[in-house]
């Protein structure tokens, strides 16, 4: 077999092709719908934590750690977030996500190849940074805000809180695990709140490629929060 024969063989093999097995417009419509849904899920998750934090602030219920009791009971945040006017816009993100997020993702998920393009996507309005793995089932998104804001969101199924601690005065770190539902992989969410200065949420939709643990998500959330100092 020489080069010419191979060229001709390949060209002939691709002849007589069957009709396209999909409609490109339908694929694009699906992508648009999925992306909108993903952004909505991330956005609603952020608002949910604000409600939870507000409940702690007003209910006087201190945070607790639900894992192995390896550290002393943390103190409640000294400057908890309050529920703001639902119409109030969130404050700006105190960190430069394009500079901070990609290197940390590469460090924490060294074997994961996110979208080959500079897909990480920031929406300046919602302060959302989205890293997809192509199929929209596995992704990491980071939402970062400052200032008081909040609205009520109901989550089904209810997540399990596996970490709830105060890593430093005035700051609270929680990690919640959502079960797999509707064929979506389980989701682990790290939430860092620090008064009105910072509200950070890191969501990892895991799967075959993107394997995450609550501890890993907690570490990633903490490092992103530290970068916001």
């Amino acid at each position: 077999v020489n080069e010419k024969q191979l060229t001709e063989s390949m060209s002939l093999a691709a002849l007589d092709e069957p009709p396209l097995g999909f409609d490109p417009d339908t694929v694009i419509d699906q992508v648009i719908r999925r992306r909108r849904r993903t952004v909505l899920v991330a956005s609603s998750g952020t608002t949910a934590v604000l409600v939870a934090v507000a409940a702690v602030a007003f209910g006087g219920m201190g945070p607790q750690r639900l894992g192995p009791a390896t550290s002393p009971a943390p103190s409640p945040p000294s400057n908890p977030l309050v529920v703001g006017d639902p119409d109030m816009s969130p404050g700006p993100c105190p960190l430069s996500m394009p500079e901070v997020v990609p290197p940390l993702l590469a460090e924490h998920f060294p074997d994961v190849e996110f979208d080959p393009v500079p897909e990480p996507y920031t929406d300046p309005k919602s302060q959302l940074w989205l890293n997809l793995l192509g199929d929209n089932q596995q992704f990491v998104d980071v939402t970062c805000r400052s200032g008081p804001t909040g609205s009520e969101t109901h989550h089904t199924p209810k997540p399990e809180t596996v970490i709830d601690e105060s890593p430093e005065p005035g700051a609270r770190l929680r990690v919640l695990v959502y079960e797999s539902f509707e064929n979506r992989p389980p989701q682990i969410i790290g939430k860092w709140t620090q008064g009105e200065r910072l509200t950070l949420q890191v969501s990892v939709n895991g799967g075959d490629t993107l394997v995450a643990t609550p501890e890993k998500v907690a570490a990633l959330t903490t490092e992103i929060a530290e970068a916001a100092r």
Partner: protein, 177 residues
């Protein structure tokens, strides 16, 4: 994405989907999987489209994404390896005579049986060089490697093909050509 950008992407997708699928087919040897790879490529391209339009190289980028999708597909541990046995998929060209279709099926079987024996990147180099007619530089860019690697992979790939093509397959390919 603005509506105008979206419309341009839709136009691109309609035009390039068949082209991408042909490349996918040569890479994997299965029209159905080639459909899947093309869809994955479109999904990934969508997110980058506004930036790609500025670079004016969306086709080469699409090819790059398609290659990566296929290489990822090969790495999946649950991937089922399918051996082709000469079954002819439903074709669109009804004008082709039954005898020609049979010969084409034999050629396909011989070709894909040989290509299946190559390492994935070696196979990709041969498809890009000899089906897509890309230059060494373009192939290196698509695969993210050096030109020297492309040259050596081409040489080794052709040598491996000669080794794995048995007498019967070689006859089938020569007969049809």
């Amino acid at each position: 994405m603005r509506k105008s950008d979206e419309n341009r992407f839709r136009e691109f997708a309609r035009e390039q989907s068949p082209v991408l699928r042909r490349t996918g087919y040569l890479l994997c040897g299965d029209w159905h999987l080639a459909d899947d790879l093309t869809q994955q490529t479109l999904i990934k391209l969508y997110g980058a489209w506004t930036r790609l339009e500025c670079s004016a190289k969306p086709v080469s980028y699409a090819r790059k994404v398609m290659l990566r999708c296929w290489l990822d597909e090969r790495r999946r541990r649950w991937r089922q390896v399918e051996r082709r046995d000469g079954e002819v998929p439903d074709g669109a060209d009804q004008a082709m005579s039954p005898a020609d279709r049979q010969e084409l099926a034999t050629l396909r079987t011989a070709l894909f049986r040989s290509l299946d024996e190559l390492a994935p990147r070696q196979r990709a180099v041969l498809v890009l060089r000899f089906f897509e007619s890309l230059s060494v530089t373009e192939t290196a860019d698509a695969l993210g490697c050096t030109e020297g690697t492309v040259k050596s992979q081409t040489s080794r790939g052709l040598a491996a093909l000669r080794t794995v093509i048995d007498g019967e397959s070689a006859d089938a390919m020569k007969e049809f050509l």
